[in-house]
Symmetry: C2
Subunit: 315 residues, 2 copies
């Protein structure tokens, strides 16, 4: 099952991080863009080609260091059918290379429709009477605004096919409190969602104590993360907001348990486009982007290990 | 702008409904499925072919009667790249035939990512320095769990390109209350969302009094719809839940204003797969599905008109 696989991947790499593959054409290395435009002009097809070329290189670079990728679907849908085609190729390639794939799609709908999303991404699709996998990724982010009806079809596929979901609990963006921090009967909405998440996963935990339902909790809200960690003893926490959004390694720690398990930190722009950041700009010569991505992945891993060490020393 | 166009389309057809195009292979007419499988085997490509063939026929049938289509993205994503390709063809065809297109995608994310979704569906995409439309539909459903950050990019494209969004306020599914009915500071979450929706649209209303931001309010909750209608004087209400989910024409009325404007009722399965329903089963001979869809569209229009007449007579 997903939570077990993720735990083992994190143990074998010693690295509780996930690489967010959010390919924006304007951030891709010029050499790849040039080749794509040379082949297909300034077209959606060129975007798709550039994205899959870049992603495969990044996967080759990171597959021994980082346990999982997290493609953000919006950046593939942005380029229409060509973008979706690049997403499918990226997913296949990552799986071939032994990386776990967390689809960041934040899907949600009423039960029958949520089932269609789940069939597409986690389960099987009925092709004229035969059940076939379509994307078949390891986990998906989902939005809980519709309650359990919108979660159940995903949960069923989690159980059936050993998959996972991450429910949005406390998101990393500045206005996340507008709904999520509202207080109802002495608890905040995100607390309520955290409790529901834990309850939905009950009795389904794997050998490391984690079940199929995790939570998304932004690194930008460490205080809230501490509370959510207490409320969800049986779920992984996916932590966005590190790096470009301002969260530090230290801000991510409250999402982990005391034993250092139970969370995975996402880095998108700060890692995959490291060669575009202030930290690495002076090292970038237009060609060594993979080297820089690799260096940043190792630097991030060390930053997290150091933060853990500092926390443990302070106790 | 979208709300004006929608109002005029409803006036010219006399029909405040939208056809939900949620193509499930197992519901499609056998003759289309047979042709598709004959051409492409039991493959995703056959699914894509069957879907676009069926959708085009349905659009031809309904374009003079129904103002808009609402493709539910899940049922296209279900068939991978081939499904997305069928979605793009469906959208183009509906636009050619003069129908409005409301994308039912319930997208949501942090600001930068919500912008990517908005660029893809409502706005323009940066293709190597040139801004180009990708899907360019009229409106999109969005989920408000992340607050205004996740809405703003869509709203900006609404203003720039005359588009619309429908924010999930009170959804039609049984467990919608699990989050949406929670009470915070004397108001329910859906009431809070309704108020925010109205506030976000302020100062942006068109010539019929409606702005770019509408709300999704299920026909299955008529009491709540009444309250939401009061709270959103400046927004359209998209009403799912009619037909297969159990909502009647009468249940949809509270989403309209007293003058009969301000809402649009969605029918998916009950309309587009009418030949599979108990009402029409005895009329279906395996070939006359378009005739039955047409009859059902006219029957539904009349049912709504009758419900209005009854309401007006009772006052």
């Amino acid at each position: 099952m997903f939570a077990d696989k993720l735990t083992e991947k994190i143990m074998s790499t010693g690295n509780p991080t996930v690489a967010g593959l959010d390919p924006r054409i304007e951030y891709l290395p010029e050499c790849i863009v040039k080749e794509a435009v040379g082949l297909y002009g300034k077209s959606l097809k060129a975007c798709g080609y550039a994205i899959k070329t870049f992603n495969k290189q990044v996967i080759d670079t990171l597959c021994g260091i980082v346990p999982a990728i997290k493609p953000q679907f919006a950046y593939y849908e942005l380029y229409g059918v060509e973008g979706m085609s690049a997403l499918f190729e990226t997913v296949s390639y990552a799986k071939e290379k032994g990386m776990l794939v967390i689809g960041d799609a934040k899907r949600n709908d009423i039960g029958s429709t949520a089932k269609a999303y789940s069939d597409a991404y986690l389960g099987r699709v009925d092709l004229f009477g035969e059940l076939k996998p379509v994307m078949d990724i390891d986990a998906l982010t989902v939005n809980p605004y519709l309650g359990i009806d919108g979660i159940k079809p995903f949960l069923e596929d989690c159980i059936k096919y050993g998959k996972g979901i991450f429910v949005l609990v406390k998101t990393s963006n500045p206005s996340s409190g507008q709904l999520q921090d509202l207080i109802s009967e002495d608890e905040r909405i995100y607390e309520r969602m955290a409790c529901l998440t834990a309850a939905w996963s009950e009795g389904l935990t794997g050998k490391y104590g984690y079940g199929p339902i995790g939570a998304v909790v932004g690194a930008t809200y460490p205080e809230q993360a501490k509370r959510i960690r207490e409320l969800i003893p049986n779920g992984y926490i996916l932590v966005p907001g590190y790096g470009a959004q301002g969260g530090t390694a230290k801000d991510c720690l409250p999402s982990f348990k005391k034993d250092g398990t139970g969370a995975i930190i996402n880095a998108s722009r700060s890692l995959v486009f490291a060669y575009k950041t202030a930290r690495w700009a002076s090292s970038y010569n237009g060609e060594n982007y993979l080297e820089i991505i690799r260096e940043e992945a190792i630097r991030m891993k060390k930053e997290i290990q150091d933060a853990f060490a500092e926390q443990n020393a302070g106790e």
